[in-house]
């Protein structure tokens, strides 16, 4: 389309609402790939993206895993950062001052090592007025139940969401792990337990070996696989979850280009998160937002809701 035509055309409305918070567009970073926001401030205008999602926060600071923590794989990467983070207190003290200066909703991703910790972090988040919503990461091992991951067991997932829902006075997004037989069972469980929205997927558990040293390329042995390689799995799961629940779904997994984001919107995601692609191109989210807008114009769509869930089966 020529520049002139573009100027004449009404810009489509890209605004969406997730769990009661209004976003100027449906594109935000995925937790853990955007630091606490400030790290990427030199590269992109924070007031152009839909929301900011923080690194996963816990009650106490967490040191994370030994190194190597990352390894590149074919069209993807493995990471086992081990949820290193400054802890909720340091977050409030050192990271919120920057986030307060930005006119974009902030979503705090968080987790706990125990059920009680999940609840406690949720309570602490209530005290930060500038946090628009919380994203609950249930991909952590439930230490009490022998290390089984909360998010792989519908019962455990339901319990933790119920508890958090009780403690949290903000919209609650629950983030699901893809490492399950049937993601719709977990999705329905967390919806019933009070999730206002669901985000998926987190990383697929993977492993890679250095054949010369015969050691895993990640000190933790296994790590989470992310990046373009996992996109087909992510699109499938988002499609399934959208069919299974009635709360809005945020699509995540391997999004690097505008048309990747469009795939998720078409299967019914109300918004998307961009993860690994931020590392590859710090301005990826801006390119994606522009691309979505251009696609809408080309297809004669004046509101993004005409696109969301428009899959033809």
């Amino acid at each position: 389309m020529s520049e002139q035509n573009k100027a004449n055309i009404k810009r489509p409305n890209l605004g969406v609402e997730i769990a009661g918070i209004k976003l100027r567009n449906p594109v935000m970073p995925a937790s853990g790939t955007f630091g606490y926001g400030e790290e990427y401030a030199p590269f992109l205008d924070m007031e152009k993206i839909g929301a900011i999602v923080t690194k996963g926060l816990s009650l106490k600071p967490k040191a994370g895993n030994p190194t190597p923590r990352i390894a590149e794989t074919v069209s993807g990467m493995l990471n086992a950062i081990g949820l290193q983070n400054v802890g909720i207190d340091a977050f409030i003290k050192h990271k919120m001052p920057y986030l307060r200066t930005v006119n974009t909703p902030v979503i705090a991703n968080f987790f706990g090592n125990t059920l009680e910790e999940y609840g406690e972090v949720a309570r602490r988040l209530n005290d930060i007025p500038e946090i628009a919503a919380a994203e609950l990461n249930i991909s952590c091992p439930n230490v009490k139940q022998g290390g089984i991951v909360f998010g792989t067991d519908p019962q455990a997932a339901s319990e933790v969401v119920t508890l958090v829902r009780k403690n949290l006075q903000k919209p609650l997004i629950v983030k699901l792990t893809p490492n399950v037989t049937d993601i719709t069972v977990v999705a329905r469980a967390v919806e019933e337990a009070g999730a206002d929205a669901i985000s998926c997927i987190n990383t697929l558990t993977g492993m890679s070996v250095d054949v010369h040293t015969r050691k895993p390329r990640i000190a933790n042995t296994t790590g989470g696989l992310s990046g373009p390689a996992i996109r087909p799995v992510a699109v499938r799961m988002v499609h399934q979850v959208v069919q299974a629940v009635s709360v809005p779904v945020i699509g995540i997994g391997g999004i690097a280009r505008p048309m990747d984001a469009l795939e998720f919107l078409i299967v019914g995601a109300t918004a998307v998160q961009v993860g690994t692609a931020n590392f590859v191109d710090p301005t990826a989210m801006l390119t994606i937002i522009d691309g979505i807008e251009e696609f809408c114009i080309d297809e004669g769509i004046d509101d993004i809701h005409q696109l969301i869930g428009s899959l033809k089966l």
Partner: protein, 285 residues
């Protein structure tokens, strides 16, 4: 720091397996400090997925165009072909589009302006020492550079270092250039001669470990530049950490190589962990 969407000015093999690449980067020079690095995006399409970190060799200006346009500013990197990404880089040509994030990280601390400075570089570890040598000499220091390599192929830019006014001492494992032996043996001799020197070093981890031991034994201050696997280069992914001095499991201290480093004062690092972690970075994708 900034994401440059730019192009290659030149890309030449300077020694078997070693390449110098000049990249157009307006405004880069005034922001760059010795020891900083860039995250280089090899190409727009996959693979490789992630950017590759490279030290800044130098910055500068191309001669002005004859048609009166202002001179073009560039940043220059020197890289060794070791794996998938650097192999693709070796095939790039003038004019090819690339992306560059930088300058990144904390470079060398050159504030101590007097006295003897000894720079110890092993192979590709010579890269960040060139800008450092330039700055130290501008500050009025005496700079001696100990260049080490496995063979003569691993030694490059000798003339350029000498042109800065650096005294160079070459050693190779096989004696194919300079003295036969390890660069650390040369360091020990030099430190006997200049016990008040300050040392700066970059190179493979075993070499850095030896340099650290020597300097610690001689109670000489040391700054080292480290390499760790990096995904973001800006402190967001937390993939590139090293253990700080005093790190314990109960009281852990992880420092981002990309933001706290890549240059560290050696006393702030946990050298036992660096030795053992076997974080050779590389590997087959």
């Amino acid at each position: 720091m900034q994401n440059y969407r730019t192009k290659i000015i030149s890309n030449q093999e300077i020694s078997p397996g070693y390449f110098r690449m000049k990249i157009l980067a307006p405004g880069f020079g005034e922001k760059a400090h010795p020891g900083q690095f860039v995250m280089f995006r090899v190409q727009r399409s996959l693979p490789p997925l992630l950017r590759r970190p490279f030290g800044i060799f130098r910055t500068g200006f191309l001669p002005a165009d004859c048609d009166g346009l202002p001179p073009k500013e560039f940043v220059e990197i020197v890289y060794k072909v070791v794996g998938s990404g650097t192999s693709i880089m070796a095939d790039l040509h003038d004019g090819d589009r690339v992306e560059l994030l930088g300058p990144l990280g904390n470079g060398f601390d050159c504030t101590s302006r007097q006295g003897e400075k000894i720079l110890v570089g092993g192979g590709i570890g010579l890269v960040p020492l060139y800008m450092l040598a330039g700055e130290l000499i501008a500050n009025g220091c005496t700079v001696r550079l100990l260049m080490g390599g496995r063979t003569r192929d691993d030694i490059f830019a000798v003339t350029e270092f000498e042109r800065l006014g650096v005294e160079t001492f070459i050693s190779t494992d096989d004696g194919s250039l300079g003295e036969e032996g390890l660069v650390t043996q040369v360091l020990e001799r030099k430190l006997q001669k200049y016990p008040d020197a300050e040392v700066f070093s970059c190179g493979p981890l075993p070499m850095l470990g030896a340099v650290h031991s020597i300097c610690a034994a001689s109670q000489v201050p040391l700054q080292v530049s480290l390499e760790e696997s990096m995904a973001c280069g800006v402190g967001a992914c937390l993939g590139c950490v090293v253990k700080g001095a005093g790190h314990t499991d109960e009281n852990p201290s992880y420092l981002c190589t990309c933001t706290v480093g890549p240059v560290f004062k050696s006393q702030y690092l946990d050298w036992s962990a660096l030795g053992q972690s076997d974080n050779s970075c590389g590997g087959c994708v």
